[in-house]
Symmetry: C2
Subunit: 152 residues, 2 copies
DNA sequence: TATTGTTATACTCTATAACTATA
DNA sequence: TATAGTTATAGAGTATAACAATA
């Protein structure tokens, strides 16, 4: 029997947990957490997200995301207004200041990632990314209904 | 900039979390959790572990592991006695019944893993495992001092 | 003085459900 | 009736520190 420490599932889970712990430790020095980075990066990729779609995209509970966005709005990193086409929804966007912060956090995150993968060649790291993308396809991120009434 | 959902770190963290969630859901039907599987698998690979070394090997807090081992000893899946060479330490081992349980849980876990990786070929899944092993080398599991007084 | 293991406590996190407003 | 978002709360999970026994 393959030892536990060679089972792909165990390796995947521990890799993810260790990488996250490294990232949290690095971002702690900036007074932020990985979830702030996820929000900024998602909003930078996809404008005009509702909180609901954002919470599904990055996998954070809608309740937690609510207070997170409150905080980030106070800091001026994101802005939100009501969606005129569906007044239940917000339209959340990253601000100029948020983009500046994102540049710094992205640099931190990429350094952490590169350090973690430093024993792999560039092509191997590329393969790893492709494998994970394929394994996750259809499972993540949860489908955002782009034709939903939330679209502006 | 690479979208968040294509960053290897994000993919790794989400893959690990999703796979763990799948596994927890599958094992829930048997009244166990992934941590029980980890303990049984580690003890099956490595006899005569102390609780301290075991907690480092599978990455569970020593306090949590204590009550976990209590429970598993009551169920007859593990047994422990004091290490005669260092009476502070336990010597924990898997029992015959524990091995029977492990066979069942391992089958569950492998099915979950195969399903999760079903979009990869066998050689790709093998590559993925090798990449993760290399990325984790030296980071996990934490070194067990095999020459320590805990050895029998 | 340091380490193993146990226990208790406090803190964090998450999940749930209730609620308002809107569709 | 269903959905977006907010809020409060309970439960689970985790980390910490104190302690006893042993080295």
């Amino acid at each position: 029997m393959l030892p536990l420490t060679s089972m792909t599932g165990f390796l995947l889970q521990k890799s993810g947990a260790i990488l996250l712990a490294h990232a949290e430790r690095a971002l702690e020095a900036r007074g932020t957490r990985v979830r702030h980075f996820y929000v900024l990066a998602a909003l930078n990729d996809t404008p005009d997200l509702s909180q609901h779609d954002l919470s599904q995209m990055i996998g954070i509970d809608a309740g937690i995301l609510g207070s997170l966005i409150d905080e980030m709005e106070t800091d001026g990193h994101v802005e939100r207004r009501r969606n005129p086409l569906d007044k239940r929804r917000y339209v959340v966007n990253i601000t100029k200041l948020g983009r500046d912060v994102l540049v710094v956090l992205l640099d931190d995150m990429q350094k952490i990632e590169q350090e973690f993968l430093s024993s792999l060649s560039d092509s191997e790291a590329g393969n790893l990314r492709k494998y994970l993308e394929r394994a996750l396809a259809g499972r993540w991120p949860e489908v955002i209904e782009c034709g939903s009434p939330g679209e502006i």
